[in-house]
């Protein structure tokens, strides 16, 4: 299981506390973990990436093991520590706005 941390507003929307855990079928990549997340929590569709183009929303970032994966393509493999559940995959909201 892959651990995913979400911004507070998305945890509220998904009605979860703390981290969520998702199972990824096949290679664990940036795209497949988001696919699994949206399959498990359909209310998150469109809130992290566009539902058609899958383009990341501008004010969100993806981090794992102190790496910024925000600009990487969807087939980018996740770090082993994330795949093994030792580290979370982090969806982070930009600290901006009012």
């Amino acid at each position: 299981m892959i651990r995913v941390t979400l911004p507070a507003h998305l945890r509220t929307l998904a009605r979860v506390d703390g981290e969520v855990k998702v199972a990824v079928e096949g290679p664990a990549t940036l795209g497949s973990v988001l696919d699994a997340l949206e399959a498990g929590y359909p209310m998150l569709r469109g809130t992290i990436r566009d539902q058609v183009t899958h383009q990341r929303r501008a004010f969100l970032r993806f981090f794992a093991c102190e790496q910024d994966l925000s600009h990487e393509p969807p087939d980018t493999p996740l770090p082993d520590a994330v795949v093994q559940g030792a580290e979370p995959f982090m969806v982070v909201g930009a600290m901006a706005g009012g």
Binding site: H9, G46, T47, Q51, V52, R57, A94
Partner: protein, 371 residues
């Protein structure tokens, strides 16, 4: 005993205000969806406990929420708003072509008869509809693909479809308004549309009497007389007696003909309310006095309503969707301000009382009169 439920959308969440028919003692529920912009929430006329809300944020985009119990609990619904077919372009602020790009839902208008059917007016301007209670949304593309659409241009707040009026006596007839394209009417349930802007004059656009390009802020009708429409335009308060075929100015003695909301008394189709606002860039009440103006003659002759409203040092705005009326007798009138106040007048505007005074900036106010 009858009750009233006021649905308030703000920049940082939704609030639900309830009272009995006396409209003096209020209960406040919220914030719902705290931290999110709630452009609009509205109940189904066919099932008043069925509510729909537009929830959005710059971080997370658009969410649609639905309640089946009058706002006690909510469930996220479908939020996929995809334009049908080629999106085409409209004009950008500098006049260059700009692709249609969905930003948010400004207004939700539930069907008069079916709680599962709701229309959504969105930015960039288009009309969507759900017939399954909000699970899926389909565009009615005849509006966005109208022959004039390539020339539409956004207003300062974006190119938003902010007004949807359903004609209760002509099934299939509906009116919409877009900033800054103007007003449009469909007589075939949204399949085809035509501009209804004859008589509007907008100084500052290349042709002041153009077929499209007018910054319409809000349109209102009385359901007993849906062929009569009242409009608050960027400048000018207008009236149509022929379902939008032609318009004439009824600004009359208003201190300024600029403003955003306009609404009609629940039982008197010739009684109309506006909130004059100083323009062009100030967007606050003239002279620091918050005044609702009422016409009992369908326009032209207006009286200021001030009792209970601040008459000095008041510099709030009242946005286009932030006024509504209830169905009691006497009719209640409500409006919300960008300063976070929601005012009620239980006597058709003669006197006003704040229900709440410290909410986030109010974007929308809707009222349900419950059995």
């Amino acid at each position: 005993m009858s009750r009233v439920r006021v649905l308030v959308g703000t920049r940082k969440g939704a609030f639900i205000l309830t009272a009995d028919g006396g409209r003096k003692q209020w209960e406040v529920s919220g914030p719902h969806f705290g931290g999110w912009e709630i452009y609009h929430l509205k109940g189904s006329p066919a099932d008043p406990d069925r509510l729909y809300a537009s929830q959005s944020s710059g971080w997370f985009g658009q969410v649609i929420q639905r309640s089946r119990d009058g706002g006690k609990t909510w469930e996220p619904m479908g939020n996929k708003f995809t334009y049908e077919g080629p999106t085409g372009t409209h004009q950008w602020y500098d006049g260059t072509p700009h692709p249609w790009d969905f930003a948010r839902v400004w207004h939700l208008e539930p069907s008069l008869t079916d709680p599962e059917t709701v229309y959504a007016g969105v930015e960039d301007a288009a009309l969507f509809r759900t017939t399954d209670g909000g699970q899926t949304w389909q565009e009615l593309p005849g509006l966005r693909t109208h022959g004039s659409a390539a020339s539409w241009q956004p207003g300062a707040g974006g190119m938003c479809l902010h007004t949807v009026l359903l004609d209760p006596s002509h099934p299939g007839r509906m009116f919409v308004a877009i900033s800054a394209a103007g007003a449009f009417r469909s007589d075939d349930a949204g399949t085809t549309w035509r501009p209804i802007n004859r008589g509007l004059t907008s100084e500052g656009i290349p042709d002041p009497m153009a077929e499209v390009g007018h910054c319409v802020h809000r349109i209102a009708m009385h359901r007993s007389r849906p062929g009569v429409l009242f409009m608050q335009k960027h400048w000018d308060v207008m009236r149509s007696d022929d379902a939008g075929e032609s318009w004439r100015e009824v600004s009359g003695n208003l201190p300024t003909d600029f403003g955003f909301p306009i609404d009609v008394h629940a039982h008197e189709p010739e009684t109309v309310y506006v909130v004059p606002i100083k323009s062009d860039s100030e967007h606050y009440p003239p002279d620091g006095k918050l005044r609702v103006y009422r016409s009992r003659t369908g326009g032209n002759e207006w009286e200021p309503l001030t009792r209970g409203l601040p008459q000095r040092d008041c510099y709030v705005n009242v946005l286009r969707d932030a006024m509504a009326v209830d169905a009691f007798d006497p009719c209640g009138v409500y409006f919300g301000t960008t300063g976070g106040q929601v005012y009620v007048s239980p006597d058709a505007g003669d006197s006003w009382t704040p229900i709440v005074q410290h909410l986030p900036a109010v974007v929308s106010v809707e009222v349900q009169t419950l059995p």
